[in-house]
């Protein structure tokens, strides 16, 4: 653990595999940038690996003031022990006040190992981060400018704000897809700091025998429009309605957990607490009641259209457009309306 260090930087762990930067550290950059600006400190990224120097420029374009680069042949593949040890050493050398990791499998494997070694705090799966003050209930001491680590708990039924005022760095893993991807600024300048690591084979206790990457069939996070179906759609056959509406809107088809569990569609399409978190321009929820676990994955959508026959469905509480009715009637009408509208628009374009 390190002492409270108000001059400490804000850090993002730049998760990469095979020299390719993951999306999550990039998503984290915009939030981390604003935290660093509020605190008046530098934003840095830590890139560990073999052949990762080339990522430094990209991290700077996405908002980093500094990039700590650790190149080592033994860091070529991610391993818990070696990565944890190198991060631990970096943290104790530079004493950042905040260290953020993506809540990916790798982030959730690595961050607790570092936190345990450093005897520092760690909050899992945050969905938001803010800077704020905390008055300790016991001694009424005021702790200013702490990292508010905000996360759902109890299966998404409550939102907890967690703080750590004395055993720094303040560390958190952050859910994939909940932070907005920043736009790169190709003219941004930053500093690249090369760090040396001493590593031995003993620190790689695992032998990686084989690895299989399953290509994602659908990229929900990148979709501008999502049409999602729930248990209310009724059957796999009827789920064709979802695909049809998605097709005519140029949208990605998605589903609630219930629809996935019923076998209407593949798990890759699942939105929610145990699926993907999305924030599209438009989210059309068809026959989805909108349990809190589902809302956790889509409530940040800019516009939400909900179609449900049950007036009391919780999805209506967060919908901008509420359509109470039979989806088998409403969806075909929507498809028709979209087709007619776009035809009219095209004609208007031509006459102009």
């Amino acid at each position: 653990m390190i002492d409270v260090n108000r001059q400490g930087e804000v850090w993002v762990f730049a998760e990469q595999h095979d020299g390719r930067l993951e999306d999550t550290p990039i998503e984290l950059m915009s939030k981390a940038r604003s935290l660093a600006d509020i605190l008046g400190v530098k934003l840095a990224a830590a890139a560990l690996g073999n052949g990762v120097s080339k990522l430094a420029k990209k991290l700077i374009q996405y908002g980093a003031d500094k990039v700590y680069v650790v190149e080592h042949p033994l860091l070529a593949s991610y391993q818990t022990n070696s990565y944890a040890r190198v991060m631990y050493d970096l943290i104790h050398k530079y004493e950042p006040q905040i260290v953020l990791y993506g809540a990916t499998v790798t982030g959730r494997d690595l961050a607790p190992r570092i936190a345990s070694a450093a005897k520092a705090g760690l909050t899992a799966d945050c969905t938001d981060l803010q800077i704020g003050d905390h008055e300790s209930a016991k001694d009424k001491q005021l702790h200013k400018n702490l990292l508010f680590q905000i996360r759902p708990a109890f299966g998404g039924n409550i939102i907890a704000t967690i703080i750590n005022y004395n055993r720094w760095p303040q560390m958190a893993t952050v859910r994939e897809g909940v932070m907005r991807m920043p736009e790169p600024d190709v003219n941004r300048k930053g500093k690249i700091i090369e760090e040396k690591a001493e590593l031995s084979e003993d620190e790689l206790p695992l032998e990686i025998l084989a690895e299989h990457k399953r290509p994602r069939k659908v990229d929900l996070k990148a979709a501008r429009i999502i049409v999602a179906g729930g248990a209310g759609v009724g059957s796999k056959e009827n789920f064709k309605l979802i695909w049809d509406l998605a097709n005519c809107l140029g949208a990605a088809p998605a589903a609630s957990r219930a629809a996935v569990d019923l076998g209407f569609i593949d798990h890759d399409h699942q939105v929610g607490q145990t699926g993907t978190t999305v924030r599209p321009n438009l989210y059309v929820a068809v026959g989805i009641s909108g349990a809190i676990q589902h809302q956790a994955g889509m409530s940040q959508s800019r516009k939400i259209v909900a179609i449900n026959s049950d007036t009391d469905a919780p999805i209506f509480q967060i919908a901008h457009y509420k359509i109470v009715g039979d989806l088998n009637v409403v969806v075909p009408k929507m498809i028709k309306a979209v087709r007619e509208k776009s035809v009219k628009e095209e004609r208007a374009e031509v006459t102009k």
Binding site: T104, R108, D109, R113, L122, Q149, I208, A210, I318
Partner: protein, 304 residues
């Protein structure tokens, strides 16, 4: 060769069954109103241990940290085939975060003696943090295989397993001792065996015996209660039905690292989830209503 397995389990509120009544007005969880269950992925961890024992022999010790009522999940482990059960219960454990919890569990695991494999569920459904496993592995100084989907091979002191890496899977090998965190995909946990249930339904931890004695003898003095508890416990022990109960002194934990004081993370605020759209409108499920809505969405460039 036989393997000594330690399975760490947790009793959790069934978060999938939270209803309105289960939340207090201030948004905190009314734990009393929630059914307490065996954390689902801990059952998968126990199942992996049971399969190891069936194939290679050895012992299985189930350990839980929690209030006296958590002894229920230990009994459940005995019904399914665990050999030994340990309840870590101590008021000084209260408000432990994942770091303090992993420290206390480390002390308990070391107290049980030599081990080959420590197994945990990937995560518990109340906190969903998945942190205690890796933190415990670090404190024990052993490698970790997290997100285990399949135990492929055990051969001497070498273990091969397949783990989920989010975008696919990875097959890894390492040397024992090791800590595994097991996912729900790893197996289908067996149900309790009727014979074992008959045997262990009368297995109790001393703290439960004390509760029973007090309830049955409301009028007697403390000294008599103590004597009655001791007598009952020694009978249970003879029958092999006494669940071990350890406190922080027994596991030789340094109190600096336990409970609220040992926890770097603190709760600043708890809010119940209330999501609401800033502006919303009802749309008639008619052709006109829908066409008008689509028009608006095209107008404001939501639909390109």
């Amino acid at each position: 060769m036989p393997y000594n397995c330690i399975v760490l389990i947790k009793q959790v509120p069934d978060t999938k069954r939270i209803t309105g009544q289960a939340m207090n007005d201030d948004g905190t969880v009314n734990r009393g109103a929630l059914p307490a269950i065996f954390n689902p992925e801990d059952l998968n961890a126990l199942e992996v241990a049971l399969q190891i024992k069936e194939q290679f022999g050895g012992t299985i010790t189930a350990i839980t940290m929690g209030p006296p009522a958590a002894a229920a999940v230990l009994r459940d482990s005995l019904y399914r085939g665990a050999d030994d059960a340990v309840l870590i219960t101590d008021v000084r454990c209260a408000a432990s975060d994942t770091l303090a919890t992993s420290y206390i569990l480390k002390c308990a695991v070391q107290k049980t003696g030599d081990f080959d494999i420590v197994l945990c569920g990937r995560q518990a459904i109340d906190g969903d943090t998945a942190q205690v496993g890796p933190q415990l592995a670090e404190k024990l100084g052993v490698p970790q295989i997290t997100y285990l989907e399949e135990l492929a091979e055990l051969d001497g002191d070498s273990i091969t397993a397949r783990r989920n890496i989010g975008t696919g899977w990875q097959q890894v090998r390492t040397k024992l001792p090791v800590l595994l965190t097991v996912t729900g995909e790893a197996n289908e946990p067996r149900v309790a065996a009727a014979k074992k249930m008959m045997k262990y339904k009368n297995a109790w931890a001393p703290v439960e015996i004390e509760q029973q004695v007090r309830a049955e003898n409301p009028e007697v003095d403390e000294a008599t209660i103590k004597e009655l508890v001791e007598r009952k416990c020694s009978i249970l022990k003879e029958k092999g039905l006494l669940i071990k109960q350890w406190d922080l002194d027994f596991v030789e934990a340094d109190l600096t690292w336990c409970g609220r004081g040992g926890s770097p993370t603190k709760v600043h605020r708890i809010q119940s989830v209330v999501l609401a759209a800033k502006e919303s409108k009802n749309v008639e499920p008619s052709e006109n209503g829908i066409t008008e809505m689509i028009g608006e969405l095209i107008e404001d460039k939501t639909i390109a």
